[in-house]
Symmetry: D2
Subunit: 257 residues, 4 copies
């Protein structure tokens, strides 16, 4: 356990460079706003680095990964451009214990689908409608400091059916003006790693400037940080020597193995 959480904020960082509307909200990229907000909330308890799609290896070097405790992931239009070998490395690090916070349209990212084992589809609608984000787990560390709901005036709608495995814990359920609901905050565990999917966030709505959303993200970073330093082995092992002596008269045919 390190006392300081080493956070890497990953961003596709395309919309912000290609669209004036998005640039107006996130001039230096969404990752900067997210990172700065978490930094403001957690102060010295966190150190933050950034990585983006168009850097070499998407900015995800082996050294960076090995020294990352928690990674946040935002992607949208270019999920397919993320290299499979990089996805495999991130996947491996999650199993080893790295926390992963998957944001908004990241539900369709390769890394999230690989961890879930399902299609991760959902419904959506862009009509700038109201969202009420209900806190259904007020005793959970991720909702510390959050009231019974968060009110967001203009958002993109995400609706059920959200094609994920049953979450370990359901944290938020969203209500949308147009009639849909959504499991907007879900926790999962895979290997040693803790995963939090968090719905809010969009390139054309200033969601990540909302202080309550920032608070949830900061809480989630703390929750997802590794809680144990036990080593992880991707592969199992052949245990020749039992802990307890075995009295067996049965022949084992070693030639088969």
């Amino acid at each position: 356990m390190t006392s300081e959480i080493r956070l890497t904020v990953w961003n596709e960082f395309r919309h912000e460079r290609e669209s004036d509307a998005v640039k107006a909200i996130y001039p230096d990229g969404m990752h900067r706003v997210v990172g700065n907000a978490i930094n403001e909330q957690l102060g010295d308890a966190v150190s933050i680095r950034f990585a983006t799609l168009d850097e070499p290896d998407h900015g995800i070097t082996d050294a960076l990964l090995a020294s990352t405790d928690v990674m946040t992931w935002w992607g949208h239009g270019a999920h397919d451009e993320v290299r499979d070998d990089i996805v495999d490395k991130v996947h491996r690090r999650v199993l080893e214990g790295m926390g992963l916070i998957v944001m908004h349209s990241g539900h369709y990212s390769k890394i999230f689908k690989k961890l879930m084992g399902t299609g991760c589809g959902l419904k959506w609608r862009e009509a700038a409608e109201r969202e009420l984000l209900w806190n259904v787990n007020p005793g959970h560390p991720i909702t510390q400091g959050i009231g019974e709901h968060i009110d967001l005036p203009h958002v993109e709608m995400y609706g059920e059916l959200f094609d994920i495995p049953e979450p370990d814990e359901l944290i938020f359920i969203s209500w949308f003006a147009g009639g849909e609901v959504f499991r907007s905050g879900c926790t999962f565990t895979r290997g040693r790693g803790r995963i939090f999917y968090f719905r809010p966030g969009h390139e054309t709505f200033p969601i990540y400037h909302d202080t309550q959303i920032q608070r949830v993200l900061a809480n989630a970073v703390q929750w997802a940080a590794p809680k144990s330093n036990s080593p992880y082995r991707l592969w199992g092992s052949n245990i020749k020597e039992p802990l307890v002596p075995i009295a067996s008269t049965h022949e084992v045919d070693e030639s088969l193995h």
Copy 2:
């Protein structure tokens, strides 16, 4: 829902052809013993087909898959030879609702790892030791007719840590003479599909000739059969028209989408 369950028993079917010791136990292949046993238990409630690795497309044609309600999977030494495109098709069918029963060394199959999102490793030892398989979910349909434990005199040991996500339900826990324990019966849901991992079974021990093991497999086939005929969409959809009229004054920039 079909009234008859259409079962496909898939088997790697290599050990039985290559090893005299295995051939002595399963002369026509393990799949025949498994299939016949399930047939004996379920009678007209099930129709059974077989498929094996070395057939074209591993025997898993589109027509077979589309008409399969439940598939059992046994593989061991040749997991890597299963083609990725076939794995993707089986994965898609599970998400659509096909039940999948993963047996013994199938824990390392591509299809199981893809559904779990974890490494699926474990410990093992071949010392022909005793296994006591404890029924920890006696109200579950999979344990119907099974007492508080099953006693297997000579088995290969599988030990924790079993690197899987927390199962939906834990059905069996194994005790081994050499000191290990194992979560030997676990249920999972992915998409519409129900998955049961069942540990017992090995190429050189006659596990699948045990009537209690056969009973569990037959129960599992019934449990895993699709329970709903709702269609599955791998991809989400853009819902232009809300169910409830939305009054929003916010501009949506259509050029971004």
Copy 3:
């Protein structure tokens, strides 16, 4: 397992006798509408009896309980009048394997709180508002034949936070016109028994006349019916003889036990 499910429909049956408005909707009591609807859906697969609060022992005799596979429970204003000894008997039967379907205001019943271990509180509002009941588990037997949502024009609202343990499976999430959401269909297992909480239903709205709601109830009865005939022991037992011989040199002080 009996091939026919023996269902008991329990109802507080006060509002229907005391209020003309309720009587107009349920002249013979809500239980009759619920029972007849399930009967219509399941036909010979179910046999139905009724029991109500003001009968001796609330109609719940030992003989009735012992021969009941599934019980539905509707109560509202008179939860406190249900005798504790009767609640204990119903609780015991659930642990033994009887299915229990708790409807609407039954969330505050003694039997539901005793099974959950929590307060079971929620928010409510009576404003005859619209409810959209989203099916978030379309592969589940309880949603067989149900589309992606059920639309109810005028209902009493139930809102989060619903103070229950995390359900085994979340089946429905409700959207309400006034801005709330609710986990409206939840499954739980306690002992051998399967429990389904289902929100819809109210004394002044004709919810139980809705054919989709009736379908869910009929599905739930089939789902909750006992799936195993293994006996249940409320108390554990002292196992003097181990399955495996123990070689221990440690003294056990029998005088302490």
Copy 4:
């Protein structure tokens, strides 16, 4: 959130006064050993008080409860002597957010049964046999610093079936020399409160002198401490004013409510 965890160690404290064998192991009571061990592990991060059955109100005053973040509970022969009104108060505090660690024979305590909703029975045998306690959740904060198993040479056996609801997380599975297995470390959430059941510990075996067991207990205290300061309401509330204006033409009959 308090920075210091206020722990109350509760003990039945009868065996230690009545039996010389027990007194030899725990001369000042088991609670002193448990409390001192946790104190040694957590230092200033915890402040510890004690309470025992034969004190007035079992030592559990309203002031103590209100200022307790985590309580550990050990009882055995005198569960029935714990007053129901005190149990109700402890139950309420758990729902409000107090962590509860239930130890060994505490599985049959009134408070644990009330929180679980099941019978909580199990099998047992006193034969001073060996226990191997397998860590099946090495990424969990409760197993921080614990290896793949803990080896206890002489223990009382607890065997499945353990009659509890499916735990949120399974942390430890025990192997016993005589052939049984047991879910020995289980987490649950009820209301805002986190509950950890931990099997090891007995009045005639010096289990709580084992440093690894002490480590687990100290970890569990930290894990169970409240993670959110959101208020808890045992009862729900009538929400007259919707968040979103409702246009309903349906009459609500206020006379019914």
